[in-house]
Every structure is written in structure tokens, then in C-alpha cells.
Symmetry: C2
Subunit: 206 residues, 2 copies
Amino acid sequence: MKAVKKKRVKETRLTIPDLVILSLLAEGPMHGYEVNATLENRNIRDWAPVSRPQVYYSLGKLTELGLLRVSSSDSPSAGPERRVLETTALGREHLADALEAKSWVNKKVHQPFLIWLALSWQARPRTFRKQLNSRKKILEQRLREERATLEDVLTEVGHPFHEAVWMLELTVEQLQAELRWVEKILKSAAKRGPALHASKKKSGRG
Amino acid sequence: MKAVKKKRVKETRLTIPDLVILSLLAEGPMHGYEVNATLENRNIRDWAPVSRPQVYYSLGKLTELGLLRVSSSDSPSAGPERRVLETTALGREHLADALEAKSWVNKKVHQPFLIWLALSWQARPRTFRKQLNSRKKILEQRLREERATLEDVLTEVGHPFHEAVWMLELTVEQLQAELRWVEKILKSAAKRGPALHASKKKSGRG
């Protein structure tokens, strides 16, 4: 029976929402509606794409695959939101398998702001500075928020050797690096000019 | 006639591949097959998601909308790859409109490596260090590549006040920030531990 289930799981790709839910319900049993509330309260949607409809879809799919199990329910015919679910041993095993994948470390991410920058020579003259200033404000605000969260999490966790602390530290470093860069570009934006040697070989518009 | 076309364009969402192509063909007329070759040669796919099938789809769509125009073709019945296309005035206008959008500066990006980090407490013990080491190697290699490209582009452009230079400078800053962070985490990975005060209120697993 277990062998049959494992085979079915191998054929089913686990998505990021699936893995987030397996991890969350590995901490302890939870009602389906609590899963959504916890995703909100812990700001998990800041770092992972897990929409509300995806949660209910995943809960059903993972239960069917034997990666989650119903530990109790409000009534025998209750839907996923009214059942208490928890991650099974098989679920933990598949989550651990998924975390070995190379794609977590080598997948390139396309950044909308970098795409905009590449195309920005076709923007209207005032737009360039306006968008850079908006970006600066957004980075400053996120930096304030992430630093405040980092302080809270440090207090709560009680030591700095924890993945929630590490995630926030990386986020703060990235925001700081980009903010320094935006400030530099804003200072030199007026000197902007086309390439002196036209070529179509390199990145950007050359 | 122009008013009718503009209305149709307003109703059609321009995708990132559409905008990249409008920008490229605003530099000068090009054969459809040259568009694909240029996307390769300039490593445009490093920063923008533009697949080969999307290119031909976009060329057709943008021509139909009047944002591209056929400036010549190898034969009267030639398909998009054998026609020379260029961006029209209307195309430049719509590209400039699209570059005003707020979403370029405020859209959050989900980073696979950060998602992995959040879930990593469920990874097998050796996987954590192994994945961090892989990430370190990838960051070091990308840093070497981007620095080499930056030098080439600086030589080619002839001055540092150009979006291709700025993009590469930001990429280098981001890679450096993450590399410093990975090196720090590798040093303290052995001290990793669970939260001392369990709570379900904050980001990460709390």
C-alpha cells in the first residue's frame, strides 16, 4: 500500500504551495482555515506564492496522496477547512526529498525593476527619475519594515542561528545594496547618454 | 483608423516579451530571425523571460496592432521570420506608456533560494550545508561572469552613465551582498537551533 502511494507521489509534482503546507503542518496539526490564517499572520506570502484557493487545492491533493492525514474533524463529512490535518512521515520524507533539488540554488529570478531599467531608454524623460524615486521610497519603506520584523523575530527566537533570522538578514542586505545603488544612479541620472560605440553583441542595448 | 487601432491596443495587455521586442525594434529594423539571434547574443534572456515561441507570437500580435510595421520582406507571403520589422511611432508611444506603470517598482519577487531557506528546517542534516555550498559556488561564478560583462560593456559604451552599465552594477552589488551573507551562514550553520520561545505570530517558523 505504501509502495503504491509512493509511486503516485513520484508522478505528482509537488508545487511550492504544497511544500509550504507540508512544512507548516509538520509543526503540528491545524484546521484548514487555520492554515490560511497562519500564512497571513506570519507574512509567509511575502516570500512564497501561496494563494487562498491554492491552499484548499493543496490540502485536498496532499491528503489524497497520503502526505497529510486527518487527525480529527468537526463532522464526518467536513471539507478540508473544517478538518484538522497534519503531515505524515511520508509527507516529511517527500518534503525532505524536494529540498535536495538543484533548482532551489541555481534558478535565476527575473526582477521587474531590472527589466524596466533595460527598457527605460524608451521611457519619457521625466519618467526615468520619477520611477527611480518611487523605487527609492519603496526600498526605504521595506527596509524599515524588515528591520522591525528582524528585531521582533530575534527577540522571539532568542538567538540568531535560525532560518527566520537568516532570511530577514539576507533581505535587509539585499534592500540596502539596492538602495545604495538607486541613490548613486539618481545622482548621475543627468549624465545619462547613449553608447559611444554602437554594437549589437553585448547585453543591454549595447 | 489610428483611433480604432489605439483602442484595440488599450484592450490588449502588452506582455514583457512584447515590450522587449518593441524596444529592440525601436533601435532599427530587423528580420524576425535576427530578433531571436539578438536576444541570444546580448544575453537578454538573462534578465527578461522571452522564449523563442513567444518572440514569433509577439511579432505577429504587435504587427496586427500597428505597433510594428513591415519595412520589407523576402517575398510577399513571407512569415514573420522572413520579414523586416520595425517599431512604429504608435509602438514607441505604447512602450513609453507601459514604462510608467507602478508595478515595475513595487512588485515583490519570490526568490526560490529564500523559499528553500524557510523550509530548510525540514531538510536532511547534510542537505543544509550542501545546498549553501552549491549556492556559494553559483554566486561566485555569476559574479565572475557579470564582472567580466561589465568590463566589456564599459569599454563598448565608452562611459558609465548607461542603463546596461547600471543593470550590471546592480547585479554585481546584489551578488556580492548575498555571497557575504552565505559565507556568514556557513560559518554559523553548526550553531543552528529551533526557536526558544514558540509562537505562531511572526514570519518564518517563529
